[in-house]
């Protein structure tokens, strides 16, 4: 057993303390960034233009990947459920019921958000990071433009407004994917699947899923913007910032998902 003043233990504790202080400092810096982000834009016309641009860039450009993932995941959920329903006591419509529940409660809001954290998060962090390292952000500031409000606010609002639409789209496609996989593999009929989808439906679950999505959208874009905005160095550091952004946003989504599930369902 090591004694308390063992140099290795002291070093380990110091390293842990430094990591905690660094994390706390980053959280403080992130909060201060958000304080500035939510300032009044210089010109509403320009802000509106940028908002539509970001909705297109962040939201509409993500439709193909969301569609593809949703169709296949819905299909897999339905197939897995059907394949594991060995008990004759379970009614066939359970397949539709489980597919719907999994999709609405977790798969669409959480899994798709994690995928978007990768796609959108890396995109946002590298775009802002490149602007930072090439002094474009300094140029904005010197001109008298609040660079955080100008660059980050439209991205956050664009994501918060459009991600719920993407998630509703994902829910629909996922259920369609489940139906297609069942019909093509002849594991269940359309009628029983539809009965399953409609059984014990709680509309509040949709509200819960969309509320989670709004929180995730905010976390993805704000965290990625944070890492992009505070990039120092060159191209290599932009890449590092993008990686940090995706990892941190993904962890934040998982933690927020746990907390929100506790709040809503328990």
């Amino acid at each position: 057993m090591r004694i308390q003043n063992d140099p290795l233990v002291i070093v380990k504790n110091t390293v842990n303390l430094v990591a905690v202080i660094k994390a706390l400092r980053n959280i403080g810096k992130y909060m201060m960034m958000l304080w500035i982000v939510f300032s009044r834009p210089e010109k509403w016309g320009v802000f509106r233009e940028r908002l539509f641009h970001e909705i297109h860039f962040i939201g509409i450009n993500s439709i193909p990947i969301v569609a593809l993932m949703s169709m296949f995941m819905g299909g897999v959920i339905a197939l897995q459920t059907a394949a594991n329903m060995t008990s004759p006591w379970l009614p066939e419509y359970t397949i539709g019921y489980i597919t719907r529940s999994s999709t609405i409660l977790e798969f669409s809001p959480t899994m798709i958000s994690l995928i978007l954290a990768g796609k959108v998060g890396s995109n946002v962090a590298s775009e802002i990071g490149t602007m930072k390292t090439t002094e474009q952000i300094d140029a904005l500031e010197v001109m008298g433009v609040n660079s955080l409000t100008f660059l980050v606010l439209p991205k956050i609002l664009g994501a918060v407004l459009f991600f719920p639409i993407l998630i509703i789209f994902s829910m629909g496609l996922s259920l369609m994917g489940g139906w297609l996989s069942l019909v093509l593999s002849e594991l269940a009929s359309t009628e029983t699947y539809v009965v399953g989808i409609r059984s014990f439906f709680i509309p509040g679950n949709i509200v819960y899923a969309l509320s989670k999505t709004v929180v995730f959208a905010f976390l993805i874009v704000s965290i990625s913007s944070f890492y992009g905005y505070y990039t120092k160095g060159g191209a290599l550091d932009v890449g590092k910032s993008a990686t940090k952004a995706v990892v941190t946003a993904s962890i934040a989504i998982l933690i927020a998902n746990f907390l929100l599930t506790q709040m809503f369902l328990l």
């Binding site: 210089e42 320009v46 474009q136 300094d138 500031e141 010197v142 001109m143 008298g144 433009v145």
Partner: protein, 256 residues
């Protein structure tokens, strides 16, 4: 006119600038020169507010204390500043026209036609008429610098900052850029601050010259006195190469 008083700047434990005092005069090309890593760019970034100076330092724009201003008031002063960055810092997602139009769109109520006229005037001023539709990536280094100058003068600034305007340019293009900066300064009677270590530029366009060494205002003077000074640090800087040293000794012999 810009006044800098007792400006110190430190990063963590390292002090970069030590008690800088200087005045950048209106209607003149004020040059800040010195070797790499001596604090020239840090000084400029402190003056435009991209870095916060250490406590006690003052920067005055036309008598107004910039260091004590809140963010909103600083933004107003910054709208009177044009800046040419070392790497041009043009927005790559925008065309040349959109780049130059950007400050006009953000801070004026001009109509689309007025803005376009102003853009064309600025492009004409830097001899790039008709290049409106190009993207920065499609332009050469010299063109990018000129576009950046056009963007910097679009708002009729009172203050123009140029951070190493000639870096990465061939000597001929560098002279074009230098002349452009000088012409704009005299034409619009603005306060221009040029950060450089290009001696050609210093001799060509420098009205007032400030030499920074070890983060201190080591020497100030004009372009004539920089050639004749006995200050050893300046001699080491100006006559760094063997060729220049030979020129200096032949000049001294002639004087004798």
């Amino acid at each position: 006119m810009i006044e800098v008083k007792n400006l110190d700047k430190s990063f963590a434990d390292k002090q970069i600038l030590h008690g800088i005092n200087t005045v950048f005069e209106k209607g003149k090309v004020n040059m800040v020169i010195g070797q790499s890593g001596q604090g020239k760019s840090v000084l400029t970034k402190c003056i435009v507010g991209l870095h916060e100076p250490d406590e006690g330092g003052q920067i005055l724009y036309g008598g107004k204390n910039f260091t004590e201003m809140n963010r909103k008031d600083r933004m107003l002063i910054r709208q009177e500043i044009g800046m040419l960055f070392q790497g041009s810092a043009l927005f790559d997602s925008m065309t040349v026209e959109q780049n130059i139009m950007f400050p006009l769109t953000m801070f004026t109520k001009m109509s689309k036609k007025e803005k376009l006229d102003r853009v064309n005037f600025c492009l004409d001023r830097v001899n790039l008429e008709g290049r409106n539709g190009l993207f920065p990536a499609e332009c050469s280094g010299g063109m990018q610098k000129r576009i950046a100058i056009a963007r910097a003068i679009a708002m009729n600034p009172k203050y123009l900052f140029c951070d190493e305007p000639n870096s990465g340019l061939d000597p001929k293009t560098a002279i074009v850029i230098d002349n452009l900066i000088r012409e704009i300064t005299y034409e619009y009677d603005i306060t221009t601050v040029v950060i450089t270590h290009d001696m050609n530029s210093v001799i060509e366009v420098g009205d007032n010259i400030m030499f920074i060494h070890d983060g201190r205002n080591w020497w100030s003077g004009d372009r004539k006195s920089i050639i004749t000074t006995d200050n050893q640090e300046i001699i080491d800087f100006v006559y760094a190469s063997d060729f220049m040293k030979e020129i200096r000794s032949s000049m001294q012999e002639k004087r004798k």
